[in-house]
C-alpha cells in the first residue's frame, strides 16, 4: 500500500510538473542569456528584405547578439528573388538556417521538409521561452503565415494587411469627411469627384506590375470581396463564375480613376503616387505606413489617414500577406536551436514595442492594446479590424502557387491592357492553372486539396 501511495504521489507530482510545462517549472529561471549559453558563437543565416519590418529588426539585432553571443548573418535580397535564392539554397544544402517564409510558400517549404515544425523545439524547455505564448499571436496570422496542414512551422514576423491609405486633405477638398466604406462608393461617388486628368490627379492607384504584385495585389484583391475566388471546392477554376467575373470587370472599370499606365506601377510607384499627392487613395500593405509617414519620403504626412479596405458585395475581405520565420531543416542541431532562439526573440511579446517603434508590424495582439501605440500609429485600428476576419487562402498557399502566380501575372496584365477580354483571359488562366494542378496530382487523389 505504501509503495502504491508513493508511486501514485510521484505520478501525480510528475504529471503536474509536465502539465505546468516550462511556465511552471522553469518560468522563473528561464532567461535568453542562459538558454543561449551553449550556443554562444554559433552563426545563423537568414535572408531579409529591404522593407521596414526588416530594417526594424536589424536595428534591434545588436541587443540579441549581445545577450546571446549568437551571430546573425543576414543578406538583403529583393522580394522577387527571395524564393529562388531560398529554394536553391535548400536544395543544394546551403547555409541558410532560418527560412523567411512568405505565406504563399509555406505549403512548398513544409511539404518538401525544408522547414521544421516548431513542436520539435517547444518540447525542449531549455530553449523555449515560457512566455512564448502562441495564443498571443493574431490567430489568423499564425494560421495563415505559419501553419500548413494543421502543423505550425513558423512564427509571424513581418505582418501585413491590406489597408486603405488616403489623403484626407484631398478628400476634404472634394467634400468628403470620411473614406469610402464600399468599393461601390469608390466607383460611383469618390472616383468621379477625385479624378481630374487635366491636373494629373486621380482618385485611386492599384499597383499592378507584372509579377507577384499583379497576381497578389491587383488580381486577387478584386476576387474575394466580390464573392469570387480562384478555385472552387474541387480545385477547378472559379474565375468564370459570375462573382469572379464581376470583380475582375470592376477592376477594369475602375481604371478610369487611376493614373495612366497602372500596369507599370509596383508598390514603390503606388506609394509614391499617394506620397506625392498624385492620387487620393491606395490599397497597400500596412508595412508601408512608415514610408508614408516619413517627411523624407512623403509630402502628405499631415494629411495621411488609414482605414480598412472598402467592402465588396461579399463583405470586407482585405488582402492578407506576410512572412513568418521558420527553422530550416538543413542546419546543424546547434544552429537549429540557435535559430529557434532568434525566431522566438524576433517575434516575442518582449520586443514587440521596440519592433513597432522601429518601424515593424508585430503579429502580437497585446501590443496593439497599448493606448500610446494606438494613438501614435494610425494604422493600428484598421489593421487589427482587418485581422479579425480574413481568408488565409487569399492566395492559395499550396506548392503550385508560384507557377500559377506566373500565369495570373501574365494574363492579368493582358486583361488590364485590353489585349484579351475578362472572360477569355479568365478562361486562359483557368486552363493553364488546371494543367498545373493536374501535373501536381490534385485531380487524381494523390494530393490532399489543401490551400
Amino acid at each position: 500500500m505504501r509503495t502504491f501511495l508513493l508511486t501514485a504521489a510521484s505520478a501525480v507530482a510528475l504529471s503536474v510538473a509536465v502539465a505546468a510545462g516550462p511556465s511552471g517549472a522553469f518560468a522563473a529561471d528561464w532567461s535568453l542569456e542562459t538558454a543561449a549559453a551553449p550556443y554562444k558563437g554559433t552563426e545563423i543565416n537568414v535572408i531579409f528584405l529591404d522593407r521596414p519590418g526588416y530594417r526594424a529588426i536589424i536595428k534591434l539585432l545588436p541587443e540579441f547578439e549581445k545577450q546571446t553571443g549568437i551571430k546573425v548573418n543576414y543578406e538583403i535580397v529583393p522580394y522577387e528573388s527571395t524564393r529562388e535564392k531560398e529554394v536553391l539554397n535548400f536544395t543544394s544544402g546551403g547555409d541558410l538556417t532560418v527560412a523567411l517564409v512568405d505565406l504563399v510558400w509555406i505549403g512548398e517549404f513544409a511539404e518538401n521538409g525544408w522547414i521544421l515544425p516548431i513542436d520539435k523545439f517547444t518540447g525542449d524547455a531549455a530553449i523555449t521561452d515560457p512566455n512564448l505564448n502562441l495564443k498571443g499571436f493574431f490567430p489568423l496570422l499564425l494560421d495563415a503565415f505559419g501553419s500548413w496542414g494543421g502543423v505550425t512551422y513558423g512564427l509571424p514576423f513581418d505582418n501585413y494587411s491590406g489597408l486603405l491609405f488616403y489623403n484626407s486633405c484631398m478628400l476634404k477638398d472634394a467634400g468628403f469627411d470620411k473614406p469610402p466604406a464600399t468599393w461601390d462608393e469608390v466607383m460611383t461617388v469618390y472616383g468621379p469627384k477625385l479624378t481630374d486628368a487635366s491636373k494629373n490627379q486621380y482618385a485611386y492607384a492599384l499597383q499592378s506590375r507584372r509579377g507577384e504584385t499583379q497576381s497578389a495585389d491587383s488580381f486577387m484583391r478584386f476576387l474575394w470581396p466580390f464573392g469570387g475566388s480562384l478555385l472552387d471546392k474541387d480545385f477547378k477554376s472559379n474565375l468564370n463564375s459570375p462573382e469572379s467575373q464581376a470583380g475582375l470587370q470592376f477592376r477594369q472599370d475602375l481604371a478610369k480613376y487611376m493614373p495612366p499606365g497602372i500596369v507599370s506601377f509596383d508598390h514603390a510607384e503606388a506609394v509614391n503616387a499617394l506620397a506625392q499627392g498624385q492620387v487620393a487613395m491606395i490599397t497597400e500593405w500596412s508595412a508601408f505606413y512608415s514610408t508614408l509617414n516619413d517627411p523624407a519620403t512623403s509630402k502628405i504626412v499631415d494629411c495621411l489617414a488609414v482605414a480598412p479596405e472598402p467592402e465588396g458585395p461579399a463583405g470586407r475581405l482585405p488582402a492578407l500577406g506576410g512572412f513568418s520565420l521558420a527553422v530550416a531543416a538543413q542546419g546543424t542541431e546547434e544552429q537549429q536551436k540557435a535559430s529557434w532562439l532568434f525566431i522566438q526573440w524576433a517575434t516575442s511579446e518582449d520586443i514587440a514595442r521596440d519592433y513597432v517603434e522601429a518601424g515593424g508590424v508585430s503579429g502580437r495582439m497585446a501590443i496593439y492594446e497599448e493606448p500610446d501605440i494606438k494613438a501614435t500609429y494610425k494604422f493600428v485600428d484598421p489593421m487589427v479590424a482587418s485581422w479579425q476576419k480574413g481568408v488565409p487562402e487569399f492566395r492559395p498557399r499550396f506548392p503550385s502557387w508560384p507557377a500559377i502566380s506566373e500565369v495570373v501575372a501574365e494574363w492579368g496584365t493582358k486583361m488590364q491592357l485590353g489585349e484579351t477580354s475578362i472572360s477569355d483571359g479568365a478562361k486562359e488562366i483557368g486552363t493553364r492553372m488546371e494543367e498545373i494542378l493536374k501535373q501536381d496530382g490534385y485531380y487524381d487523389g494523390s494530393k490532399k486539396l489543401l490551400q
Binding site: 522577387e80 524564393r83 529562388e84 529554394v87 536553391l88 536544395t91 512548398e108 518538401n112 494629373n200 506590375r209 507584372r210 509579377g211 499583379q214 493614373p259 495612366p260 499606365g261 497602372i262 500596369v263 507599370s264 506601377f265 498624385q278 506548392p399 508560384p402 507557377a403 502566380s405 506566373e406 501575372a409 501574365e410 496584365t413 493582358k414 488590364q416 491592357l417 489585349e419
Partner: protein
C-alpha cells in the same frame, strides 16, 4: 664538329631549366580547367537534364530519364515560339541602329585631327559598355518614367506629348530597344574603328586621289575591312540578345503583358520560378544550337565576301 654540336643545345637547356614536354600543357591547364568547370560541365549537365524530368521543388519525383519529352514540350509550346519571335524582332530592331550609328561614330573618330577630343571620345565609349546590365535597366526605369522621366521631357521639346512608356506594349518594347542601342552602339563603333585602322594608309590616300565621294570610299575601300568586324558584332550580339535578361528584368520584368518577354525572360520563369529545370534545359540547349547555326551563317555569308 663533335664539340660544336652540343654547344647550341646547352645554353638553351640552361636558359629553360624547367622546360619539358608537359610545360605547354601546364601553362594551358588553368584556362582549360576553368573552362571545364565554368563552361563545359554546366553545358553537359544541361544536356543531361534536358532528357530528364527534374523539378527541384519536387524532390520526391526524382530525376527520371524521359527521352525527348522535354524537347517535344518545348517545340509545341506556343509561348516559346512567341518569345523567340519577339527576340528576333528585338534583334532586327536594334541591330540596324547599332551598325549604322556604330559606323558613323567610327568614321568620325577615324578622321585625322582633334587628338585630345578623339581620345576622350574613345574612352567615353567604354562607359555604357562597362555599365552593369541591371543598372542599365534601373536607369531605364527612371529615363522612361511617365511622370518625371527624361524621355518624356525630350519629347516635350518637340511638342510631342509624353506618355507612360513602360505601361504600353509598344512603348515598353521601344524603351528596352533604346536602352540596348545606347549600351551596345559604342561596342560596334569600337569594333568598326579597329576595322578602319586596318585600311592601309597608302590605299586610302590613293583612293582619295581617285574620288572625292566619301560613299565610294566607304563602299569600295573601307567596307571590306569592316566585314570581319561586322561578322564578330553579329555573332556576339546574336548570342547576347538571346541571353539578354538583367536589363529587361529590372526594367519591365517582361511586361506589361508579354510585351518585353524575350526568350531569356521566359526561360528564367520556367527555370527559376517554376523550377522546371528539365524543360528550361531543353530550351537552353535549343537556343545554343540556334546560336551556333546563326554564327555559321554569318561566317559563311560575310567571310566569303571578304575572300
Amino acid at each position: 664538329m663533335s664539340a660544336a654540336s652540343p654547344t647550341p643545345s646547352k645554353p638553351a637547356g640552361r636558359l629553360n631549366p624547367g622546360y619539358g614536354r608537359w610545360t605547354p600543357a601546364l601553362f594551358l591547364a588553368p584556362a582549360v580547367l576553368a573552362l571545364l568547370v565554368i563552361g563545359i560541365y554546366p553545358t553537359i549537365f544541361a544536356l543531361v537534364t534536358s532528357f530528364r524530368r527534374y523539378n527541384i521543388t519536387r524532390p520526391r519525383d526524382g530525376f527520371p530519364f524521359i527521352g525527348i519529352e522535354n524537347y517535344q514540350k518545348v517545340l509545341s509550346d506556343q509561348t516559346f515560339w512567341d518569345t523567340l519571335g519577339l527576340t528576333f524582332r528585338f534583334f532586327l530592331t536594334v541591330m540596324p541602329f547599332q551598325i549604322f550609328l556604330g559606323i558613323v561614330i567610327a568614321l568620325l573618330l577615324h578622321k585625322p585631327g582633334l587628338g585630345l577630343v578623339r581620345t576622350l571620345a574613345r574612352v567615353s565609349l567604354v562607359v555604357p559598355l562597362a555599365t552593369t546590365y541591371a543598372v542599365v535597366g534601373l536607369i531605364g526605369r527612371l529615363v522612361f518614367n511617365g511622370n518625371f522621366g527624361v524621355a518624356n521631357q525630350m519629347l516635350g521639346w518637340f511638342g510631342i506629348p509624353g506618355f507612360d512608356w513602360l505601361a504600353t506594349t509598344n512603348g515598353a518594347f521601344a524603351a528596352i530597344a533604346i536602352m540596348d542601342i545606347w549600351q551596345w552602339t559604342p561596342f560596334c563603333a569600337l569594333i568598326f574603328l579597329a576595322g578602319l585602322s586596318m585600311v592601309p594608309v597608302e590605299v586610302e590616300e590613293a583612293a582619295r586621289l581617285e574620288t572625292s565621294s566619301k560613299v565610294a570610299l566607304l563602299r569600295h575601300v573601307q567596307l571590306p575591312y569592316l566585314l570581319p568586324g561586322l561578322t564578330a558584332v553579329l555573332i556576339l550580339r546574336s548570342a547576347d540578345v538571346l541571353k539578354l535578361f538583367d536589363m529587361i528584368f529590372t526594367m519591365t520584368r517582361g511586361g506589361p503583358g508579354t510585351a518585353t518577354e524575350l526568350i531569356s525572360i521566359y526561360i528564367q520563369r520556367v527555370g527559376f520560378r517554376v523550377f522546371d529545370m528539365g524543360t528550361a534545359s531543353a530550351q537552353a540547349i535549343l537556343l545554343l544550337i540556334l546560336t551556333i547555326m546563326l554564327s555559321r551563317l554569318y561566317i559563311r555569308v560575310f567571310y566569303r565576301e571578304i575572300q
